[in-house]
Symmetry: C2
Subunit: 225 residues, 2 copies
């Protein structure tokens, strides 16, 4: 079995846990972060820290200018990040983001000869983004088998989403059992350059609830309000 993997890192809690999980399962992990013009630039610094701390063998950053498309509070400065959890899909949804992330990971995996892509999507404590659901990941798996030269030659690249059915609390407990230091991760949609979290966006709220329900201290550094 091919034990080389590409792991998508956002700098946040979930993808750090995926990296720790795949490393613990014996994978040689090559991490990939995508600079898509997101507001929360400190996530990219966090992704690099996470890769180094959790055994990433290499780390790449691919720049994609999604600001040329816009349509999300994360890629359009004219749209504010909401500070309350909302019904439905929030404006922080970035159109086709995970399709794009997985496409880049698939290309990187093919160049490296990796047989696995790790991604931290989750369909329990999440913001309702359509491209985090199991059916989406299954459809991408079918696509990946058809999309590449490696796939045509029968070397399929498996999409591994180990957090899909875990609660946020369970993810945190799993990561802590693997030695993840969550203080180096940044989940906030509008963190300061120093990586301090706002405490009120969707992503911050889901994270806070996770630490509460896991019964462990929240190591997040919050900006002074």
């Amino acid at each position: 079995m091919n034990k080389k993997a590409v792991v998508l890192l956002s700098g946040g809690l979930d993808s750090a846990t995926v990296l720790a999980d795949l490393t613990a399962r014996g994978f040689e992990c090559h991490t990939l972060a995508v600079d898509y013009g997101q507001r929360h630039r400190s996530e990219l610094l966090a992704a690099e820290r996470v890769s180094q701390a959790l055994g990433g063998v290499s780390h790449r950053v691919v720049a994609v200018d999604l600001r040329a498309i816009g349509g999300s509070a994360l890629t359009d400065d004219a749209l504010d990040v909401p500070t309350e959890l909302s019904e439905g899909i929030p404006i922080t949804y970035v159109p086709a983001r995970n399709t794009l992330m997985l496409a880049l990971a698939l290309g990187h995996a093919e160049v490296l000869g990796a047989g696995c892509i790790g991604i931290g999507v989750n369909a329990v404590d999440y913001s309702g983004y359509p491209d985090c659901r199991p059916a989406f990941i299954e459809a991408f798996q079918v696509l990946a088998n058809l999309a590449t030269q490696a796939g045509v030659e029968g070397q399929h690249c498996r999409i591994d989403a180990p957090l899909m059915h875990m609660t946020k609390a369970k993810i945190i407990q799993h990561g802590l059992s693997l030695g993840v230091d969550y203080s180096i991760t940044v989940s906030c949609y509008q963190a300061t350059d120093a990586g301090e979290a706002c405490g009120v966006c969707d992503s911050c709220r889901l994270r806070q609830i996770g630490f509460e329900e896991a019964g462990v201290a929240d190591p997040t550094r919050y900006a002074q309000s």
Copy 2:
């Protein structure tokens, strides 16, 4: 029926024909070119010319740094573009390129509220790239229906590949019947900055054979050798 479309333009012959085809079918076409660090930069200038000449309502360029990944003669200067048609998939294959292009088009379509994506893939006179085959496009259609907020709300975005089963000669005849001026297109993998073609790469050879078989004069400007 939603008559707004995003059309992927490479600057080459096929995608120009797709734009002419969709425009003739009454679509309001928003064109998208992807600057992925390709060697043939003059293709991006050609894409803009094609959009203007063939009725594009808007034109965007999204930059994606695929040189961070490499693995193709088109994105790695250390790899030469072959000058002979070869057996198998040539080194000009860019890992997961069409998956990436379609992901960007899908995001753009969602922001615009477009119900169609036009793409010039072809599985007859082509270089054998896996992500040009009908099964790949069908798999992307399934993915697209699951990937976006629009899809979740039942507004599916249809992937339209009108050239899929045409010979290169048939594509040229179809385009000419719609008034396409192929002299403004650039297909060459290593065109000069002025858009002059090398005449010997895979893409040039397929294009030359197409004009020959169509029985029309080749308007391509070739570099003096």
